[in-house]
Amino acid sequence: MAAAAFSTSAGYRDLRRMVLGQELVLFIAIVLLFVVVGLINPRFVAERNISSIFLGNAYIAVAAIGMSMVIISGNIDISVGSLIGVLATVSGTLAVNGVPIIICWLAPLVIGIAITAGMGAIVAYFHIPSIVVTLGMLSILKGGLISVTGGAWITNLPPEFFLSQTRLLGIPTPIYFMIGLTIAAAAWMRLSATGRAIYAVGGNVEAARLSGIDPAATVVKAFAIHGFFVGIAAVLFATQLSVIQSTVPPNLELTIITASVVGGVSILGGTGTVIGSTLAAILIAAIASSMVFVNISPFWMRAVQGVLILVTVLADLWRRQRQRRGL
């Protein structure tokens, strides 16, 4: 009876969908990559390197969780790179000035939520497309940050500050954040009312409204939660090196959006999972590392990356077409 109940539950449907979905494609791609490159250079699959790949890009995966939620709700946030730069600078500046470490870690979350919720409110209640609001915000944050700091290095940080450099049971802390938050977020998206509302609003606003969901409030919530993840990503980013350059990391928003999109989150809204985006972030990081191991000329790295992104997306589309045709 339990089995019967399970086989009709939302969890089972999800599991089934994932097994046949983009998440599987990505998982296979990751495994394939490790096997192939590992054969070419066994050091690629050494524990050190795998740890580096996961560790160095954990913050991208975490940020992609929030971004996926925003995209699932039918919106986008291209200011995320600037926001991470600002939050990381805030965190570091507080730490250098003797503020208790726990506040240095929590302040980016609070500020992140405030800013993104604000953007979400403008999108939802003033009906301005998210691409416009976040495009404007990107400039405001970047210009503001440079005006205030001039790109100065934040140095002399207290040693307790470096969250990303700690380990639990031998595994770097950011990896726990990445995996833990992904699973928690995936479950939350499926099981909570707000989570399901985000899917509904992204899929069909009118249908969502008719079933009693408040689309505007849902969008604001999606943005706010996104701010939470951006805050965590900023702390992971800020605590990775012993010095912080108080500037906006170049191209970060593109990488995060790519991770979400390659992860199967549909830009039309309404479908995709955060598990997909985390797997995609891992895949992108693994590809970057593998290209050094395989001695690909740096001139061609970005081209190869672009093609691989295209292939992954096409593979997903092809798979969906086949499903639709009932094969």
Binding site: R43, N49, Q245, I296, S297, V307
Partner: protein, 367 residues
């Protein structure tokens, strides 16, 4: 399906071509001029003045002048330091006003627009650090023909687009300092790798080319393993350095960082990998960025010139030009607390030898 197959084929072809291509080393293909191994200064052939001249510049000798400084980008510690140097010089001279403005990314497109705006505004002099030596030339020439003085620093333009260029150190001098420092730490048969910024940055490419030439001539048993590029991104540089450490393991004796973003990131990677002492990190960086690593002993020395002095000298050179104290054909110029600076290569002014920061002096600086 067919299209899918085409994509796969293209990927494989691209990857194959990419792998078959000559391993990139990061250097440009211009002729190199390595210094003598024992440090005897090279003979510099006297070169005629080859800079450009402004047309119809107002005579402002002794009067207050307004200068604009447009570095490669704003918002990085290195150019914040040059700005500070300029501020110091302006304060000392008393009759110079200098402002720094520039793009937020090291992009030639934006830098040109900035310079153009200030030409229209009508400043007395433009100081610049070029993102691209050729692309910046048209707008600098426009400045010259509007009667504006043009002096470059840090990254040169084509000679006839500016009057003078303040060179922090000769390319081959920097190369020698870097390679010698590395050889001292890892020994004559050590293996090293290089982390640089983008491969389209002219300065880095020049340094690397000179480093190779010098290393082949004077430390022939050292082995250059690989060069990776890492934009101007901290974490990307960190990841790339980590990848190098993971790829070569014990074979990697030293890492060069070619930018003030790459060197701290490489030092961090070495520290976190627990390889301090086993893997040396030598590079160009600012003291602030390297302080934790120098203090922990992970990095023995950091090679740089003083960007503060660089900015300081640039303003003094500009003042001398306006006052008529520096003209084409002169061989030296007076630069405040830096004393007399030599004119080399026709229209370049040499700041001096590279400066080495180490544990004893890293705390004396704040940039």
């Amino acid at each position: 399906m067919k299209r899918f197959a085409i994509i796969i084929a293209t990927t494989t072809a691209l990857t194959g071509a990419a792998m078959a291509a000559d391993p990139w080393d990061g250097g440009d293909d211009l002729p190199t001029n390595p210094l003598a191994c024992d440090g005897t200064p090279g003979t510099v052939a006297a070169k005629d003045y080859d800079g450009g001249q402004p047309t119809g510049a107002a005579d402002k000798a002794g009067q207050e002048i307004t200068l604009i400084d447009i570095p490669k980008l704003v918002g990085v510690g290195y150019f914040a330091a040059t700005t500070e140097g300029m501020r110091q010089a302006a304060e000392e001279l008393g009759n110079v006003k200098v402002t720094t403005d520039g793009p937020t990314e090291a992009n030639i497109d934006d830098q040109i627009t900035f310079i153009d705006n200030y030409v229209t505004q009508g400043v007395d002099g433009v100081l610049f650090a070029a993102n691209d030596p050729v692309a910046i030339a048209p707008v600098l020439k426009k400045a010259l023909s509007s009667g504006i003085h043009v002096v470059g620093y840090d990254a040169n333009s084509e000679p006839d687009a500016r009057e003078w260029f303040v060179n922090q150190a000769e390319f081959n001098g920097i190369a020698k300092s870097l390679i010698d420092s590395m050889a001292a730490e890892i020994g004559e048969d050590g293996k090293f790798a290089i982390v640089t910024s983008t491969f389209t940055t002219p300065n880095q490419a020049r340094w690397i080319a000179e480093m190779q030439a010098y290393q082949e001539a004077c430390h022939p048993n050292m082995e250059w393993l690989e060069t990776v590029e890492a934009q101007e991104d901290n974490i990307l540089s960190f990841n790339q350095a980590n990848t190098l450490i993971n790829k070569y393991g014990d074979d990697l004796d030293g890492i060069f960082g070619m930018t003030s973003v790459a060197t701290p990131a490489a030092a961090e990677a070495v520290t976190q990998a627990g390889a301090c002492g086993d893997t040396a990190v030598v590079g160009l960086a600012t003291p602030n960025a390297m302080r934790p690593y120098v203090e922990s002993g992970c990095v023995k020395s950091v090679v740089l010139w003083s960007p503060v002095d660089l900015g300081y000298a640039a303003v003094y050179v500009m003042r001398a030009v306006v006052d008529g104290k520096l003209s084409p054909g002169d061989t030296e110029v007076e630069a405040g607390r830096l004393g007399k600076l030599q004119v080399v290569n026709g229209s370049e002014i040499l700041l001096g030898s590279p400066f080495i920061f180490d544990k004893s002096n890293v705390n004396d600086f704040d940039f």
